[in-house]
């Protein structure tokens, strides 16, 4: 097949797998944070800020996948 077709296929695979992993990880972290908040509502602020930092770090992996898939898509191979 043409290299362009391969790059389209693998860019979509890249963002799909990356988003899958990041979604799983973010779901787990949000579950843990919500359990913590439900147990100790007075420490909701600290838990929320820490959770957002963690979510940002996890999300950056998905963003790397997005960047790589954009490169795969839009570079003329």
């Amino acid at each position: 097949m043409d290299l362009h077709v391969w790059s389209v296929i693998f860019s979509s695979l890249c963002i799909a797998i990356g988003a899958f992993g990041a979604a799983l990880a973010q779901g787990r972290s949000i579950v843990a944070a919500l359990e913590g908040i439900a147990r100790q509502p007075q420490s909701a602020g600290e838990i929320r800020t820490t959770m957002i930092i963690g979510l940002a770090l996890i999300e950056s992996l998905a963003i790397y996948c997005l960047v790589i898939s954009l490169i795969l898509l839009f570079v003329r191979w």
């Binding site: 957002i52 930092i53 997005l66 954009l70 570079v75 003329r76």
Partner: protein, 305 residues
Amino acid sequence: MFNIISNVNLSAMLASVETTVHGAANAIQETASVALTHGASAASEHAAAAEKSMIDPSIILNRHWIASTFESVGGHHFVVVIMSVIVIIFLAVLFYLATRNMAVREISPLQNFVEMIYEALDGYVVNMMGPVGRNFIVLIGSFFIYILLSNLLGLVPGLESPTANLNTTAALALVTFFAIHYYGLKTQGLKYLKHFAGDIWWLAPLMIPIHLIGELARPLSLSIRLFGNIRGEDIALCILFFLGAAANFPFFHLPMMFLACFTSLIQALVFTMLTMAYISGALPHEEHDHEDGEAHGDKEKAHIH
């Protein structure tokens, strides 16, 4: 493919720090923008070859009309500078007007608004870093306001986010990077360098490269996170907009617009929050608290015994 590799290699091999920084940012940006423009032209060629698609896909990713206006002046990199200057001028005029006639009794609405922003930022920074954070409120607040406004600028038709470009975000992340080490060295002196070696002295040859790579990964992840989020959001908006136009269904992109407002705020929050976390990690009180806590614990044990 070889283009990217040669660019990255070239930029990695550049000798001086300044040129490395500049070259790396430029190389990444050039590959990205070249990729985008090439991709657009390739896509338009594909579309011309197929002659099936209703809308030329190159419109979506093509460069801006302002960029084409200034193509002769500075090429397509120039549009980011214009958008950035728009944000800067707006902020400067706003804050100049707000602080021109400051009063205690009869507060003008504008001053009230700006004070509200400042108080919110103050509470945010102090909540995150403790009372020490008041020293950094200028840096953090500027980051927050500038990033938020730049993110939101991309939602206005005809304008483009300055943060949807790796040059801007890399500049912001480099400011963060140097601020971390500046404040670390300023407050801790040479003890700050010692923490790169880790706690156990014979693991130092292993820990120093790990710490150095970790430090260098911070500006990379900060800049690429912001760039990727905003650029991806803009591309998604564009695609949805043209999808709606193709299906004769206007305002198809409206839900994405609300989501984009939300992510703009979230990304500004995340950038400043990570900056604060990094800076407060470089400040001395954290580790001293730990050590002091242990010492106090020992003392308390001694007292108990």
